[in-house]
């Protein structure tokens, strides 16, 4: 939005210890950024432009478009008005120059990896990550001659040792999924700068409300916008945010590969973003309260949540995050996989489903949902015990969620 007031960052809402500041007017940006104040037909909200192609007044207009490279619709695969609005809004929320949206989170990371890596190049990953990201690198990028090194999450020395002359990209999530380890973004971005290698943080679990990777010098932020950004469990989308210069070739390749999103989805994403700040406040509050409840429950062996003082990354998380999100991983005490599944099955509010970040709470057992056919030794290596439950707190009433878990654990 051209007339957005006080666009600049302010630290009025930040925790004080954070090295980067969070915009005090995130909600104003969430409602207005990226949209023209005066829209076609003067409608208050953006129209859904679902055209697959865009017409030109005459031949001269086509020639002008090719020469001047002005932003306008040409063919749907190259971009559309709903996409531009969402991209500008996401860039504003993340404090980045430019955003590119994709059909899904996976389409986004694949789009970036395909654009940035060529045969012979190497990429280094922290190993705690979404299993499909790992699968794409090890099974598919390898087919194009790209070498993937996985090192233990948060082992910065191991990551540095893995960096070679052909390394082009360092990748991590923060917090990681499902272990919720917190990556020190200053060290991570520092490694990239020291060795002249680009860095990518998948901040899906944190969102720009809680973490601002670009402020630490990270080059690319990745989001599965299906999660907190869309927020209503009713659309798939992905996004990459970074500098215009670094994203230019990424956008071009997307136009070729075609992993774009539809106008209908993008409208729902834009609509979801309008309540982004409110929802995140509530996710954070529910996450913290439920994690504390679980940590004190006799049937719970261990809780992984960065907001708990017992979490190994707690001090770091407090320093670099504003809040800790709605995702909690915990282990049921003395439970085998079946007894753990019973807890999941007894939940009445949280529903059994993959995904996270929507208004509805979701619950799942990673062993069953994501690693059911993975050999036991591999599950051990990835840190997926049988008694692990992943709970994505929605924005329901806090006490209702706690009461529901209490009865589910009691059974």
């Amino acid at each position: 939005m051209t007339s957005a007031p006080s666009n600049g960052p302010s630290d009025s809402d930040s925790s004080g210890t954070a090295p980067c500041t969070f915009p005090g007017n995130l909600s104003t940006l969430a409602v207005h950024a990226g949209e023209d104040r005066q829209k076609p037909t003067h409608s208050l909200t953006d129209p859904i432009v679902c055209a697959s192609t865009y017409s030109f007044a005459n031949t001269q207009a086509v020639i002008d478009y090719i020469r001047n490279k002005e932003r306008r619709g040409e063919y749907g695969r190259y971009g559309s008005p709903n996409e531009w609005a969402v991209e500008k809004k996401l860039a504003a929320l993340e404090g980045g120059e430019e955003a590119i949206v994709y059909a899904s989170g996976m389409a986004a990371i694949v789009g970036l990896l395909m654009a940035k890596l060529s045969a012979g190049d190497e990429v280094v990953f922290f190993d705690e990550c979404y299993h499909r990201s790992r699968e794409f690198c090890t099974k598919h990028l390898s087919r194009y001659g790209v070498v993937t090194h996985q090192v233990r999450a948060c082992d910065y020395d191991a990551m540095e040792r893995a960096i070679g002359p052909k390394t082009k990209l360092l990748v991590s999530e923060s917090p990681t999924n499902p272990h919720l380890s917190v990556v020190d973004l200053e060290r991570f971005a520092g490694l990239g700068r020291k060795h002249g290698v680009d860095t990518l943080i998948d901040a899906t679990l944190a969102t720009p409300y809680n973490l601002r990777p670009l402020a630490f010098g990270v080059d690319y932020v990745l989001h599965s916008a299906t999660k907190y950004l869309g927020g209503h469990n009713d659309l798939l989308a992905g996004a990459i945010i970074g500098s215009a210069a670094k994203l230019q070739e990424v956008r071009k390749l997307r136009g070729i590969l075609g992993g774009i999103n539809s106008a209908h989805n993008l409208y729902l994403l834009e609509r979801g973003l309008k309540t982004f700040e409110l929802r995140m406040e509530r996710h954070n509050r529910n996450g913290q309260a439920v994690a504390e409840f679980l940590a004190n429950h006799p049937r719970v062996e261990k809780v992984l949540y960065p907001g708990l003082p017992t979490h190994p990354g707690h001090e770091l998380a407090k320093r670099q995050m504003r809040g800790f999100g709605g995702l909690i991983t915990f282990m049921v005490k003395d439970a085998d996989w079946r007894a753990t599944a019973d807890v999941v099955d007894r939940a009445r509010i949280a529903r059994i489903a993959p995904s996270l970040g929507g208004v509805e709470s979701l619950i799942e057992q990673p062993l069953v949902m994501s690693y059911f056919e993975v050999p036991v030794e591999d599950r051990k290596r990835f840190g997926i015990p049988d008694n692990m439950i992943r709970l994505a707190c929605g924005i329901e009433d806090t006490q209702d969620l706690i009461d529901d878990l209490a009865q589910a654990l009691q059974g």
């Binding site: 208050l44 209503h232 609509r271």
Partner: protein
């Protein structure tokens, strides 16, 4: 999920949004079918023709009924269609009492449309028992209330009005659009019908039109449903879906909007270019004590004020904001500003407008979700243009 034992916010997300049994989808599908295949000729089915009902509309109705504490709800194509849906209960010769501080569209429906069906109306200050009693006739069948009122934010004490009306055999309808069920639930205060322009807080994103009636009595529900099906002013599936999606953040939005509105009202009340600020959350507001009792933890997000000046001065203010957008409607994430005399209440006759206290210098705000500081600064710069 059985639901009723859960908190408002939890019900807003889950009641009416049960897991789809056919696909397991966490968000129920949008059923766009205009008609439904029947099990056999003349055999009853839950859904037959979409004017009568659709799964998507029914889910929205279930959610809103739970939030308002009703036995059932009916969704209409717009708030006015819902109001009309309730007025269809009336017949030739009946009389209606409505408040003086009501939506201009309701005023128009009563005075310029229903009047031709032989239904008469008297507007009364619903804050005054004497005024109500003076308006009552033997043939008065319906009392129509709005609290807070539009655009003067007058507060009507609903429970005693309802008791008085029931004593005289009237039905009571309450337009609860401004308060939303987050703050006020009129059925709990005895009202028979609650009406919402779901376009406003329920939908909340300025992108769907809709109206809702909620009732306590299954027989009244059946009668209204019969009339709705006969007249056909129903809500379509796409808008039903968008409104239901909006309701999932209803409580978060309304509470945040109330907090911002309270701070803005306090700022405006001490502003030198403003003569009078009307907001129930201000202690000097005549309805403040009733609002504190009747509204649950907030005073709404609508503020009206009279600028120190005339029609032109108010026009300059509403045209001078950058963040507040000049548009009718309210209740959404975007803040809006308008001049009732030229916009939302232009359907009143001017003399009637003035009689009911709607001056040319009146400005009405709908406070959205933007940051308080941004909204305050925007109003301040616009007021300096007077």
């Amino acid at each position: 999920m059985s639901g009723e034992r859960h908190a408002f916010r939890t019900r807003a997300i889950h009641v009416g949004n049960e897991r789809d049994p056919a696909t397991g989808a966490i968000v129920p599908p949008i059923h766009v079918a205009s008609t439904f295949v029947l099990p056999g000729a003349g055999e009853p089915s839950e859904f037959d023709y979409s004017r009568t009902g659709t799964p998507t509309r029914q889910r929205l109705e279930t959610t809103v009924a739970s939030l308002e504490g009703g036995c059932g709800a009916l969704a209409y194509a717009s708030g006015m269609a819902a109001t009309h849906g309730a007025m269809l209960l009336l017949k030739h010769g009946d009389h209606v009492i409505a408040g003086t501080d009501i939506y201009g569209g309701t005023y128009r429906l009563l005075h310029k449309v229903l009047v031709s069906s032989g239904i008469s109306v008297t507007l009364a200050d619903t804050r005054s028992p004497e005024a109500l009693e003076a308006a009552r006739r033997p043939e008065t069948k319906l009392l129509w209330l709005e609290s807070p009122g539009n655009p003067l934010l007058s507060i009507t004490d609903l429970a005693p009005c309802v008791a008085w009306a029931h004593q005289h055999g009237m039905l009571v309808g309450v337009d609860n659009t401004f308060a939303s069920p987050v703050l006020t639930r009129p059925l709990e205060l005895g009202a028979d019908i609650v009406m919402h322009s779901a376009t406003k807080y329920l939908g909340g994103h300025s992108d769907a039109l809709g109206g809702i009636l909620v009732v306590r009595d299954p027989e009244l529900h059946r009668r209204l449903h019969y009339l709705q099906n006969a007249v056909g002013n129903v809500l379509g599936p796409w808008d039903s879906y968008l409104i239901q999606r909006g309701i999932k953040t209803l409580e978060l939005r309304v509470r945040e909007q109330c907090r911002t509105a309270q701070r803005l009202a306090e700022f405006l009340a001490s502003h030198p270019r403003i003569e009078r600020t009307l907001y129930p959350g201000l202690p000097q507001h005549p309805g403040h004590d009733i609002a504190t009792r009747q509204m649950d933890g907030g005073y709404g997000a609508m503020i009206s004020f009279e600028v120190a000046g005339d029609f032109a001065a108010a026009k300059r203010v509403v045209e001078g904001t950058e963040l507040f957008q000049l548009a009718v409607s309210l209740g959404a994430v975007e803040s809006l500003i308008e001049q009732p005399a030229s916009m939302s209440h232009a359907s009143y006759d001017r003399a009637d407008r003035l009689k009911h206290g709607i001056r040319d210098s009146l400005v009405r705000l709908s406070v959205g979700l933007e940051a308080f500081e941004d909204l305050r600064d925007d109003l301040d710069q616009a007021l300096r243009k007077i």
